[in-house]
Symmetry: C2
Subunit: 245 residues, 2 copies
């Protein structure tokens, strides 16, 4: 793959937070892996430049030890962001973010507050965002593709919005493109499509709709060959990027 091919989206990062420039259009969740070498392979295969980590309030650690991961891959080359994807209340999310800052110095948070059915809880997310923004965090909240919620979070100062395509791990893909497109049109901050991505074709489609980035997780983690699927979604992103402009 030539540099030209990787630059299909243009030379500008899709998201800039302080000095940190997010260039790869693929974000990969890596909390479902049990082998550090596989985390390395999928991150390499996908071309991701973001490393997402968490602090599980229940289990007090993420599934893989950072020390083990660090032996397999050069963690320094990634932009580190924290996630609150295990949080089921605003208070949980705020506590997780603060622990991630205390323990790892993270100040960019992939903010998730899920309801009892594991869907984004808009009210709790806005509540947590308010507190964390006041704390000086930069936020990428996960929401249903609702224009009103999107506008509120943009107005509050969030850095980017993660729009749910379909329920997490559902493999249902982009069933209804209209709400996603409406949110992309309604805000000026970058948008990430995430949740339920069921195949590489969905990744391409997300970019065709105008997404700035796509976050995949279960599709890669549960694939017969995660490394192969990581390369597939990378090609899918390149395909989408070539027609997005």
């Amino acid at each position: 793959m030539t540099d030209l091919e990787l630059d299909v989206f243009g030379p500008e990062p899709w998201l800039q937070i302080g000095e940190r420039a997010f260039r790869s259009r693929l974000l990969l969740g890596v909390e479902q892996y049990t082998e550090p070498a596989l985390v390395r392979d999928v991150l390499d295969g996908s071309g991701a430049d973001v490393f997402i980590t968490t602090y599980d309030l229940e289990r007090t650690r993420s599934s893989l030890l950072l020390s083990d991961l660090d032996r397999e891959l050069d963690l320094d080359r990634f932009i580190w962001i924290g996630t609150t994807s295990f949080a089921h209340s605003a208070a949980d999310a705020v506590a997780t973010a603060r622990q991630l800052r205390t323990a790892l110095g993270l100040d960019i948070i992939k903010l998730d507050v899920r309801d009892t059915t594991n869907m984004p809880d808009a009210e709790a997310t806005i509540l947590a965002a308010k507190e964390l923004l006041a704390d000086g965090f930069s936020l990428l909240p996960f929401i249903l593709p609702e224009v009103e919620t999107a506008r509120v979070l943009e107005g509050m100062g969030c850095s980017a919005l993660r729009l749910m395509a379909a329920p997490v791990a559902s493999y249902r893909g982009i069933v209804d493109a209209e709400p996603l497109r409406a949110c992309m049109d309604a805000v000026e901050i970058p948008t990430v499509v995430e949740g339920g991505i069921g195949s590489p074709a969905d990744v391409t489609r997300a970019f065709e709709l105008g997404a700035d980035a796509v976050l995949v997780n279960t599709l890669v983690a549960r694939a017969a060959s995660p490394e192969r699927m990581a390369r597939a979604v990378r090609h899918a992103a390149l395909a989408g990027g070539l027609v997005r402009a």
Copy 2:
């Protein structure tokens, strides 16, 4: 792009006719172009290894002169096949194929017989196929995704089947995957998805369904940048190929 990436479908050609091995999973219609240099760029960008040409019974030549094309690209590196895509009767298709053999020595035919609404005419296609197979041609007929028609043409000895996803030039994509999948399951010869491909995501999707190859035409020819779209569909095919196996 590394050789490895291009070999995602495995080292075997998807179609072998005599000594001619079809390796690229993308077929590109090139009859809509008016600039030989653009034909070169889209064929290069897509990685296609097949050159499709025709003999227009009405206009007695295709839109670009082969001599002009030959100045822009090394036509010898392609597998040449003829198309009867302008034919509206079995007799037209047979006559076109015979002219293509007489004039250019072609014996592999992308067989199309369209009805008055430009849809594949199964009855006329079977009629033309019977005559052309008896003449010693190898055929890739274009049909609606109907299992019965697919089985008849396979039984007659066609080399591969081109299954219509959506009406030609409609950009509607793969609206209904089931009939395509049913045909792929019903026959053992290779299948090509073609017609109405509306975006690179449709190309990826076709391979995810199990297609052996995809033929794109209008999507590339009418794109703002055909060369860029050709590269996009190539990445889309690579993405699909990585998850097809």
